[in-house]
Symmetry: C2
């Protein structure tokens, strides 16, 4: 299982959304080449989660690219001097990593081209993270245009399509879709600020969205929180 069907590159963070994404791509019959990034994120436990998810959900292979972009700074996710906020703020969150999805998609595009894959799956979501500019439909459409022009495949009439199936889904809908496909969310991690044992803080934006999503979906939340947290 896993190696049949057309090829796709699937961006896999180890979180809830991208695990669902991989399950959806598999359910559509794609042979999935999973791609993760070690970009100096403080929540690096997600890389271990990504490896577990890739294996359990039947990816053909899983690559983790080390990206030396932490020095760029500017985000609470990569800069230890910027605290992860406990309460949602207005505008673009401080957890936004400058141009992150553009870098991820660019590398996925290069790999897709060499694999001769015609599909890239990315788990961006415009509803929960409306403050991130690179999670909006217009952004994905612009990257699609770029992909058609940027690649040998595109020039030669074999365009690579960017799939963002979660982009308009509520968190609860994402969880329900994954649960129907048998995703074990205990394999995933969402917390921006886990403890050394990988337990979720229960307080950051990402923990709050995850906990509320499980509650709204009516699906049991398998997340292990640090004592005193608990996602509301």
């Amino acid at each position: 299982m896993g190696a049949d069907g057309p090829k796709a590159v699937v961006l896999l963070s180890g979180g809830l959304d991208s695990a669902t994404l991989l399950a959806l791509a598999r359910a559509q019959g794609f042979a999935c080449h999973a791609l993760s990034f070690d970009y100096g994120q403080r929540h690096r436990v997600e890389l271990t989660a990504a490896a577990r998810v890739a294996e359990r959900l039947g990816a053909v292979e899983h690559r983790t690219v080390k990206l030396d972009i932490g020095w760029i700074g500017g985000s609470a996710l990569t800069d230890a001097s910027i605290p992860v906020p406990r309460v949602p703020g207005g505008g673009i969150p401080i957890t936004y990593v400058p141009a992150r999805n553009t870098v991820f998609l660019a590398i996925a595009l290069g790999w897709a081209e060499v694999l001769d894959a015609r599909a890239i799956f990315i788990g961006v979501n415009a509803l929960d993270y409306s403050g991130y500019p690179d999670c909006r439909p217009a952004y994905i459409e612009a990257f699609q245009q770029l992909a058609n022009l940027a690649t040998r495949a595109g020039v030669e009439g074999r365009p690579i399509r960017i799939h963002a199936p979660l982009i308009e889904m509520q968190k609860a809908e994402i969880i329900q879709a994954g649960a129907r496909l048998g995703v074990d969310y205990a394999l995933t991690t969402s917390c921006y600020d886990p403890d050394v044992r990988g337990r979720a803080c229960g307080r950051c934006d990402s923990c709050r969205l995850r906990a509320a999503g499980f509650a709204a979906a009516g699906v049991p939340d398998p997340t292990v929180y640090v004592t005193g947290g608990g996602g509301e």
Copy 2:
């Protein structure tokens, strides 16, 4: 010198084109933050050249990002099992690195955003390298659209402009422009397949274009070739 004026991120390879690019950006008054990539290219001597060029031409700073994308393969520039061609072929050259400029521009975009720079300079050229899809004006325009949508700066009305001033220039024109600005081309390297001492092969596409450019420009060629080469 170098720290005055509006900020720009300048993609610097250590080659003839990007040295000219940096000189043009400096001449336009930009405070230039030079960015190079160590992406497993076999012609890594260019990274040493990039550092020399950045210092000599007055960049404010120079960063080299290590990019773990050599495993993607698919190019003679990163895959030691694919020989660098000695004669120009038709179509897209085997020296094309999949999605390379998209990855470079994406990282430049993130850095520009954090620096609050409104300009990115890239030395792509559509004439000499017409076989590379990501060197064409339509590609640069598509990346400009993406940059406006991808970034906090773009969303907040401070768009980051992609400057590609060499895109329609002949190699001889580039050399003449740089020579007028006092660029010492002995600092630069263009060869795809230099020897261990960094001497140019004189035979690859890039060497041939460079040698022909100096000849057409009427500018002395300072390139040191391995014995028996000589750029035609």
